[in-house]
């Protein structure tokens, strides 16, 4: 799979985790793409931490209203029934467990559910923005990312980079499989049949629990 195929493959699978009525916050990058793959029969409410629920598609060039942006600063639209609020309300919603699912990328995730996605020591530190609140507050935290970083494992026994949050990740979805974190272990629930179990374990530093995983749906 090429880069775009991987991205769409992961996004398609993430989108299947949503239930009707879910409040969902999508991080920047790959997670943002998930919005394009939501099954037609599922209606979710996209939250954006800068102050809205009901994020709609990006507007046409001519319809841009610079007073409506998402948390990445891009012009967006609001769907019917959506509404705006201030940052205090927004993080009350996030920290208070009113966001059902948040989807984020990560540099590292470990088998205790800790994740590290905001500092690479020695590089510029952009800041954590709302990520720490999101992964701490959301009911379900899904990490959507490529399985490795140029062949180097990102799914570890223990994160080595500074943490974004401790013990918060529930699910990891990569181009190789779907992994659930449960009681300090990473369970491979689904796998991409393009890879063998050995290859998937090879690309993962933590030891995977592989107990009859099912094949991932390859249709994008």
């Amino acid at each position: 799979m090429d880069k775009l195929q991987i991205r769409n493959f992961i996004a398609t699978r993430v989108a299947k985790e949503f239930h009707n009525g879910d409040v969902v916050n999508l991080g920047i990058g790959l997670p943002t793409a998930v919005a394009n793959f939501i099954p037609k029969d599922i209606k979710i409410h996209l939250q954006s931490e800068n102050g809205l629920i009901g994020l709609g598609p990006q507007p046409n060039e001519d319809d841009i209203d610079y007073d409506i942006t998402n948390a990445g600063g891009q012009p967006v639209t609001l769907i019917e029934g959506g509404m705006y609020f201030d940052s205090s309300t927004s993080f009350g919603i996030i920290r208070g467990g009113h966001v059902d699912v948040t989807v984020l990328g990560s540099l590292q995730v470990d088998q205790t559910g800790s994740l590290a996605n905001w500092i690479i020591p020695g590089k510029m530190v952009p800041g954590m923005g709302g990520a720490m609140d999101l992964v701490t507050g959301a009911k379900k935290v899904i990490i959507a990312m490529t399985h490795t970083n140029n062949g180097k494992p990102k799914i570890l026994e223990k994160c080595t980079l500074p943490l974004t949050a401790k013990n918060q990740v529930n699910l990891i979805i990569t181009e190789m499989g779907v992994m659930e974190i449960r009681e300090g272990k990473i369970h491979l629930l689904e796998y991409n049949p393009l890879f063998t179990f050995e290859e998937i374990q090879e690309a993962t530093q933590a030891t995977l629990v592989i107990d009859h995983p099912i094949k991932m749906d390859m249709e994008v």
Partner: protein, 215 residues
């Protein structure tokens, strides 16, 4: 009735070394023309409290690029590479705070609370140097209130009494910052006679001055 002042009068309310809260999220909701005036005035050694560092040519980013900011308190600075450079070269102090904690600290400062317990940041470097309090079997960080000398707010619509409305996602940090500073100046786009009393977002009692001219 709040006093309406001219943009030229902003100079009477700013001074070197002061702390300023500036509304806006990636410059959306930032009173851009008040920032331009601050750049003109050249006030120095500012402590700026804002969600982010803006862009090199938008929002508080312009103050940073112009070397007027001694310390920045924000949740991220990723879209302003100049902020990153000044920070890593030690030319600007930078305190990074989780966004939800930042807004809540400002709310605390404005509402007379001495602090709050948040789970955000537990087990990360954010907890370093802070008091950890256990409650009902869970660890929380005790975070303290944040206040400043001045708030610069972007009001979309104000009325003659000084009540303020914000449109769409320009609201963000603005209404909470308006409660947490000694002085509040609203840069407004439009004035109407009166705002529906059910829909006022910042009550006039928080506003000290209004400057018309926002875009």
């Amino acid at each position: 009735m709040k006093e309406i002042i001219k943009i030229d009068d902003l100079k009477f309310h700013v001074f070197d070394g002061m702390s300023i809260m500036v509304g806006g999220f990636m410059a959306v909701g930032t009173p851009e023309f008040l920032i331009d005036e601050l750049v003109q005035l050249g006030v120095k050694n500012l402590t700026i409290i804002c969600n982010d560092a803006g862009f090199v040519d938008r929002g508080v980013g312009k103050l940073i690029v112009n070397g007027q900011v001694h310390k920045l308190i924000a949740s991220h600075i990723g879209l302003n590479p100049e902020a990153g450079r000044l920070m890593s070269e030690g030319l600007m102090e930078c305190e990074l705070i989780p966004q939800g904690t930042l807004i809540e600290r400002i709310r605390c400062g404005g509402s007379g609370l001495g602090g709050f317990l948040t789970p955000t940041g537990i087990g990360t470097i954010v907890e370093e140097g802070k008091k950890i309090i256990q409650s009902e079997g869970k660890d929380y960080i005790l975070e303290l209130p944040l206040r400043a000398d001045l708030a610069l707010i972007e009001g979309t619509t104000v009325d003659q009494f000084g009540n303020v409305l914000y449109t769409k996602t320009t609201r963000n940090f603005n209404p909470v910052m308006a409660t947490a500073t000694d002085k509040v100046i609203v840069g407004a786009r439009k004035m109407i006679e009166s705002i529906d009393p059910d829909c006022v977002m910042t009550p006039h009692i928080f506003v000290d001055y209004m400057i018309m001219g926002g875009q």
